[in-house]
Subunit: 224 residues, 2 copies
């Protein structure tokens, strides 16, 4: 059985991604990263996803990087901005080189377990803010890692980012088809008991369901 | 003053590398990685190097990756092989994708502090065993990271591996010119009180001094 290492944060995109690879017949190894983000609430939803799919799940503790990679509201004491996700002020949510670090670790794990695929859930809506969510980044990274591990692991090992040219509403639509329980996913950057409904990712989440014509099962503090 | 992030293990190559960038007028930020290797002895020598050069030094704890990246004698309970470094049996010392992970973290730190250079000490003698020490790897990785952090950090940030086409004896010769105190560096994979003199890196260390026509200041358990 082919193996895939899937990076799952517990958000709706990455949980849909895991369901997508499960549906396509892969044996899954799910990886979540704790990089010192303010809350680890979403990781519970990654664990729930793994249990649902009968997959292995590991949490990689990279919290020691927090002091090394300062300057992000996701890890530091800067206030998480409200407003639309694509806005300029969301730049403060960038953790320098985060995806490269996560992908490099996931690739190492894939080499170790003989997986064929490392998958991550970057999508079209992320391109504006995060350069490490762009297609040219993941292609270049996949090439570099393949060169760097030549002769080790599965010779066909490669990166996949199947949502890279999709909008978040396309992912919502695909997730609905795959039967993803969206109430078992977490988007909010603020990490309260409920989704806040006002931060960039909450705004984007609401919009995705609306554009996909789906019922949004999320309970927000500030309802649409 | 230009800044360089230099990956320093505490071995003779990386310590020479740090002296090289100090001599070239860079403000240095030295990074050492604890990736669950059997001994952290060499990290003391990285710290001593930082003190000597008046540089910042940070130890990045990646020991949580140990269970994720199994299969290496450097981190697992496989016996470290004796014999020449370039031999096939040294393949057990490979930690999957290790350099990509370290470089990705170092790049993130460089973005955060506005450094122009990320430097690492891969050299010609490493190419045979470690694909992530080859020139084509570090070029591809540097390109991927630059794409992934476009718009953040110093726009001229790039990877350098000035020893990539040098032999270890060339590095020894350069270190001698730079006044590197080689007795304050550590190579042995076994991590005893003295260099063992028989493991791959000890054999290579002895050879480097001999080929460079230098006095080897190292005290080995098994002297040449």
């Amino acid at each position: 059985m082919k193996k895939a290492v899937v990076i799952v944060s517990g958000g709706m995109d990455s949980v849909t991604l895991a369901h997508f690879y499960a549906k396509n017949g892969f044996e899954l190894s799910l990886l979540s990263f704790n990089y010192g983000q303010r809350h680890a609430k979403e990781i519970q939803f990654a664990a729930a996803c793994a249990e649902r799919l009968g997959a292995e799940h590991r949490v990689v503790d990279l919290s020691s990087l927090r002091s090394l990679l300062p300057g992000s509201a996701l890890t530091d004491d800067i206030e998480v901005p409200d407003g639309h996700y694509a806005a300029e002020n969301m730049k403060v949510t960038v953790v320098p080189n985060r995806n490269a670090i996560m992908l490099a670790v996931a690739w190492g794990h894939a080499v170790a377990i003989g997986a064929e695929v490392v998958a991550f859930g970057a999508h079209g809506g992320d391109h504006f803010i995060y350069p490490d969510c762009r297609p040219e980044f993941y292609r270049a990274a996949g090439l570099a890692f393949a060169i760097g591990s030549e002769g080790f692991g599965d010779p066909g090992l490669h990166l996949e980012a199947p949502f890279i040219n999709m909008g978040k509403h396309d992912i919502a639509a695909m997730g609905a088809e795959l039967g993803v329980p969206f109430e078992e996913t977490w988007s909010c950057y603020k990490g309260g008991d409920l989704h806040c409904g006002t931060c960039g990712t909450c705004v984007e989440r609401k919009e995705a369901f609306r554009l996909a014509g789906l019922q949004d099962p999320t309970v927000y503090e500030v309802m649409p």
